[in-house]
């Protein structure tokens, strides 16, 4: 009974002693051990570096999304892939402002939306001209959706929009390029063949990183949506804001339902528009990252296989070198299981050591990755789960490939082993 109860402890102690023996053996054959584990070291180092790079990229993309707005939805006209409207005229497909009249009453998950029209224009003030300023037609909700409020003057009013008044908002950059006074409110600029009164200033765009075309921002000028619509007949789309990221899918469904009605689509007709939720892009990115991880995992498993064979080889050499020692251990009472355990622990120790060195190497590679300019990998790091997984995998390789040599050792006949030269 006592023997039975103390068994786990004796087992643990034996594993510990086997581990110390293994460390001694590895230390005694340093060069050989390091060469044998090289396959595992390289495998683990590369997979941890790839995981670190992906993790960094993910963090980067996530923060980009966050600054861009995770609640955001883009709604734009699109030809369906099939059905009668597949090859329809653009006039049939395109949006008109009326399609969105009263949308908020039917889409409870949508907080606000702005109709959008974009163009570029030359604009002149006095002697200064900007050849190509970015011109946007917006609704007042745009300020909230994009998080760029009016810092000076006032936003557009319903009257501005309704009457398609020639008023505009500009940014500091535009003001400075046109050499407008520090407070430009009340001044007039010339564009689209008429005079526009400046009624206020808008915050500069946030630095949203490379993913969404940040960086070099053009000079911007904003006019009421209807003003631009009437003047240029532009491509119209809509940006809407869901109440929270959690209801993004509901908001999308509501918008879709509403638009199908307002655009008179029959029940069996496909959509003639797209509603894109940003979180869907995030999911896409996650799927891609998972794909890359899987491919990297495949490559690494090949590397681990090669590494494992190296370990098996060196363990077979070790068993053959220590045949007499095994014979002696058996003669003084080591059970076959004890010998098996000793060699298995040695293989696992060897592999785990390789895994550990591999993780250190992976960390080194990650540090280098972070230093690559413009690679956007400065947030790369090895997550804890990858460390645990790497060590687990190297240990498993040790068990798998150490088993055969260990069984060979355990089955040695003590008499022949002791006679071995």
């Amino acid at each position: 009974m006592i023997t039975f109860l103390t068994f786990p402890f004796r087992m643990l102690r034996f594993v510990l002693v086997s581990f110390l023996l293994a460390v001694g053996q590895i230390w005694a054959n340093k060069t050989r051990s390091i060469l044998a584990t090289l396959g595992i070291v390289i495998g683990i180092a590369s997979v941890t570096a790839v995981i670190a790079a992906l993790t960094g990229l993910k963090a980067k993309v996530l923060s980009d999304f966050e600054s861009f707005g995770t609640n955001k939805m883009f709604i734009f006209p699109d030809h369906p892939d099939e059905g009668p409207k597949k090859d329809a005229e653009w006039n049939v497909i395109r949006f008109s402002p009326g399609h969105f009249a009263g949308m908020l009453e039917h889409t409870p998950s949508v907080a606000s939306f702005t109709r959008m029209a974009e163009n570029s224009t030359a604009m002149t003030f006095g002697e200064k001209t900007i050849d190509s300023a970015s011109l946007k037609g917006i609704d007042p909700a745009w300020h909230e959706i994009e998080g760029r409020s009016v810092t000076l003057g006032r936003p557009f009013s319903v009257v501005d929009d309704y009457n398609a008044r020639p008023v505009c908002l500009i940014t500091e950059k535009t003001r400075d390029e046109l050499r407008l006074p520090r407070n430009p409110v009340g001044e007039s600029v010339y564009m689209l063949n008429r005079r526009f009164e400046i009624i206020g200033m808008v915050e500069p765009p946030k630095d949203i990183g490379g993913m969404f075309g940040g960086g070099g921002v053009a000079s911007e000028v904003f006019v009421p949506f209807k003003t631009l619509w009437d003047a240029t007949d532009p491509f119209m789309y809509v940006i809407a804001n869901a109440r929270s990221p959690e209801v993004a899918d509901e908001a999308r469904a509501e918008v879709r339902f509403f638009l199908r009605q307002s655009r008179d689509l029959k029940p069996d007709e496909p959509d003639t528009f797209e509603v894109e939720v940003l979180s869907a892009y995030l999911e896409q990115f996650n799927a891609m990252a998972a794909g890359v991880t899987a491919v990297a995992g495949g490559i690494v498993s090949v590397s681990l296989l090669v590494g494992g064979i190296g370990i098996m080889n060196i363990m077979l050499v070790s068993v053959s070198e220590r045949t007499r020692e095994i014979g002696l251990r058996k003669a003084v009472g080591a059970r076959p299981a004890a010998i098996l355990l000793q060699f298995l622990v040695e293989a696992v120790t060897l592999c785990s050591l390789g895994g550990l060195i591999g993780i250190l190497g992976g960390q080194g590679m990650t540090t280098l990755l972070q230093k690559i300019p413009n690679a956007q990998l400065d947030q790369a790091y090895i997550p804890a789960w990858a460390v645990v997984l790497s060590l687990g995998f190297s240990g498993a390789v040790g068990v798998t490939f150490g088993l055969f040599p260990a069984i060979k050792a355990a089955r040695l006949n003590p008499i022949e082993a002791l006679r071995h030269e």
Binding site: T6, A331, G333, L418
Partner: protein, 255 residues
């Protein structure tokens, strides 16, 4: 009766040929005996030694060690018998290199069920018994041949086995060192240990109290040392312990 061999037969198959390494061997050994097993090479003495040490299984026959039939035991149980009841001394010492003497001595304890308590202390005590207390942390490469064999004997003693099995223990030693090692065996016998020694040297066998001669896998003769050919070589000088009368009477003969 400590050891009882009944009709032990061992047949090796060499291709189509069958070699009878042991052919119906019956031997009994009492506790405290000092037995030399002699024979030319190929006589079966090494196979007999392996049988006695539970390192090999007979093709036929039974081996009772203190009443337990070891020839019917599984590998793990045989390991336990080797660990607890048998102490091996080999011709070539079989010490682990790069391992200090006391750890070599303690090796059988590692596989003992009795636990590892006081391992170092027991190892040092065993080294003391063979007169090597001050060499406990030396590695085998730093020891002479005689010292190595003493370490091996200490290792054989550490688990307090019933039998000491020595296979040509002086085969790798010069005559002076051999003499010292044999005196150590004499002393251990005098202290009550059962000693079985395989040798082909008459002067080594003369230290024992009983000589079993093997020929062609059979027991050729089994006589008290005084009646054997080696009688003339019996050493005259006995260790003080034996002179004090600690040695049991040789049993001699088959029972």
């Amino acid at each position: 009766m400590l050891i009882q061999l009944q009709g032990i037969t061992k047949i090796y198959k060499m291709g189509v040929e069958r070699v009878h390494a042991l052919d119906g061997v019956d031997i009994s050994v009492d506790e405290g005996e000092y037995v030399a097993i002699m024979g030319s090479s190929g006589s079966g003495k090494s196979t007999l030694m392996n049988m006695l040490g539970c390192l090999d299984r007979p093709t036929a026959g039974s081996y009772f060690l203190a009443g337990d039939n070891t020839s019917k035991m599984g590998a793990a149980a045989q390991s336990r018998v080797r660990n607890e009841r048998i102490g091996f001394v080999f011709q070539s010492f079989e010490l682990m290199p790069r391992t200090p003497a006391w750890k070599n001595v303690a090796l059988p304890m590692m596989y003992s069920r009795k636990g590892w308590a006081g391992m170092r202390k027991k190892a040092l005590k065993a080294l003391d018994r063979v007169g090597l207390k001050d060499r406990s942390s030396h590695k085998p490469s730093q020891l002479s041949g005689g010292q190595k064999q003493r370490v091996a004997i200490a290792r054989a003693l550490i688990n307090e086995p019933s039998i000491l099995l020595a296979d040509e223990p002086t085969g790798n030693l010069d005559s002076k060192t051999s003499h010292e090692i044999l005196e150590l065996f004499d002393e251990l016998h005098a202290q009550g240990h059962t000693v079985l020694m395989v040798t082909h040297e008459a002067d080594v066998a003369a230290h024992a109290k009983r000589v079993i001669r093997m020929r062609d896998g059979k027991v050729a003769s089994d006589l008290p040392v005084e009646q054997d050919e080696v009688a003339s070589l019996i050493p005259t000088r006995r260790s003080p312990l034996q002179q004090a009368g600690g040695a049991p009477e040789p049993s001699g003969g088959r029972r």
